[in-house]
């Protein structure tokens, strides 16, 4: 609990938490502007999907760079000397931002539902909407975990660039593959192509599951590397 509060305060004071919470809302505002100016619902939805994806990538970069800074500044060593388990430290740096990302995406979804004439507002039930929003937030988890992996050895700026670069490397082929990529990027896909007649719960849950599995695997790698690293 002490460690959780410590990491939460650090994220807040360094404005990283504010960034994570604000980015999806900013993406929604941009989508509202695009929607209003283009007069096309499809353009608004695509803008929202791209904006949320960008928010997830930047949030992951914020998390990774924060952890890199914690290690580089010696603050991680200061905690480890006081018998804070290394796995607990990596865990806190993953779980807290993940919760923040989830909250931010839900708030952004509510905002989008209120401001945009999207199918989101006309979705058949609340569960479908919730699944879509969580599925849109979910790709941020493996990216954040990848950021932690990079952060164990890389400096702050390298970690930020690496996370963004990794996201681009993964996203480009997914976009080009089209339907085949729907499982991995379905959150954004679903937001972009939302259809009120369709209840994409199954595909959304599959995407969430896949993202969590990959995130868990990458978190394990980050924890193993951090356990072996000299501080």
């Amino acid at each position: 609990m002490i460690l959780t509060i410590h990491v939460a305060r650090q994220l807040w004071i360094q404005l990283r938490l504010l960034g994570i919470l604000a980015l999806p809302a900013i993406a929604t505002f941009v989508a509202v502007i695009v929607d209003g100016q283009s007069g096309s619902r499809e353009a608004g939805r695509i803008a929202l999907a791209v904006g949320l994806a960008t928010a997830a990538v930047l949030s992951a970069a914020l998390v990774g760079s924060g952890f890199a800074e914690e290690i580089r500044s010696g603050a991680a060593a200061w905690l480890v000397v006081r018998a804070v388990p290394r796995t607990a430290l990596v865990g806190a740096w993953f779980v807290l931002p993940a919760l923040a990302v989830l909250v931010a995406f839900v708030l952004a979804g509510i905002l989008a539902g209120l401001a945009l004439p999207l199918a989101l507002l006309q979705a058949p039930d609340a569960i479908a909407v919730a699944v879509i929003l969580v599925a849109a937030a979910a790709p941020g988890l493996p990216l954040s975990a990848a950021g932690l992996v990079v952060a164990v050895y890389a400096p702050v700026r390298v970690t930020m660039v690496a996370v963004i670069g990794l996201a681009v490397i993964v996203a480009v082929p997914l976009v080009m593959l089209g339907d085949a990529a729907v499982h991995a990027a379905s959150g954004y896909w679903l937001v972009a192509g939302m259809d009120p007649a369709n209840r994409p719960i199954t595909i959304g849950l599959q995407a969430i599951g896949l993202c969590m599995a990959v995130a868990g695997l990458l978190w394990g790698v980050a924890a193993l590397l951090f356990l072996r690293r000299d501080l």
Binding site: I2, H6, R9, Q10, I13, Q14, E70, S73, G74, A75, A77, W78, L79, V80, V81, R82, A83, V84, P85, R228, D230, L231
Partner: protein
């Protein structure tokens, strides 16, 4: 709190005669690159000792302390501090009994001095009025009262080093490991702050500048070729008319061997 440390023994009058071991290292080894910086270190430091740890390879003492503190891994060997081995100790018990200050203070710079002391106390399991009393005493002793509520990112290195030492001493540890401590402090301040009281406290100071530790340590330990080649009372340097320097320690090690 763990019961592994024999408090009853240490508080008994017999402790002075028995001289229990505060720091015990067995067959510790660590290679860095192709170089065996530590190659079978054997060390037993009695409780209450203030020991200087110097090395012909300047990195070796620092690495040894960081392995003891759990910051670096060893290729083989064991370390027992105040009767505790890190992997098997309860976290609060370890944090309360073992203190470490690195060459880089490492305190989270977004915290204030008072907050960092508070966090150190909490992680050591110190609660209630005792925590606040210890924090106030530390702030006063280390002359941190004036900047207690300012973020440390605005503080100079001297303040950071003092805060790091204050945080390490707050739980009243039985073993204190200091890696190049208080480098930025003025010599009189350094001497005052590093003359750390406590008969039951064992202090190891790793330093590249042995001469600066005069008046602070009572034993000297030299690491050469990855092994402890000298572990002697500081008086032996005087007896041989050797200076407290790396050259003096090396010469004494040659004489002893």
């Amino acid at each position: 709190m763990p019961t592994s440390t024999p408090d009853a023994l240490w508080s008994s009058p017999a402790a002075g005669r028995l001289r229990p071991v505060g720091v015990e290292v067995n067959d510790l080894a660590r290679r860095v690159g192709n170089q065996p910086l530590l190659d079978g270190i054997e060390l037993a430091v009695p409780v209450g000792t203030r020991a200087l740890l110097a090395g012909v390879d300047a990195e070796a003492p620092s690495l040894l302390l960081r392995i003891m503190a759990g910051l670096a891994r060893a290729d083989r060997g064991t370390v027992t501090l105040a009767g505790l081995q890190r992997g098997s100790a309860i976290p609060e018990g370890w944090a309360r009994r073992i203190g470490f200050v690195g060459a880089d203070p490492g305190i989270p710079l977004w915290m204030t001095a008072a907050e960092s002391l508070d966090l150190a106390a909490r992680l050591s399991g110190i609660d209630g009025p005792d925590r606040q009393r210890r924090i106030e005493e530390s702030l006063q002793h280390f002359q941190l009262g004036a900047i207690r509520d300012r973020p440390l990112q605005h503080a100079g290195r001297i303040i950071l080093e003092r805060t790091a030492l204050a945080a390490a001493l707050l739980p009243d540890p039985e073993v204190l490991l200091l890696d190049e401590p208080l480098r930025a402090a003025a010599p009189p301040d350094r001497l005052r702050l590093l003359r750390i009281p406590g008969e039951r406290r064992t202090v190891l100071i790793a330093s590249r500048y042995p001469a600066q530790q005069g008046g602070i340590v009572d034993r000297v330990i030299l690491i050469r070729d990855g092994r402890v080649t000298l572990h002697a009372p500081i008086g032996e340097l005087d007896a041989q008319r050797l200076p407290l320097s790396l050259r003096g320690l090396t010469a004494l090690a040659d004489l002893v061997s």
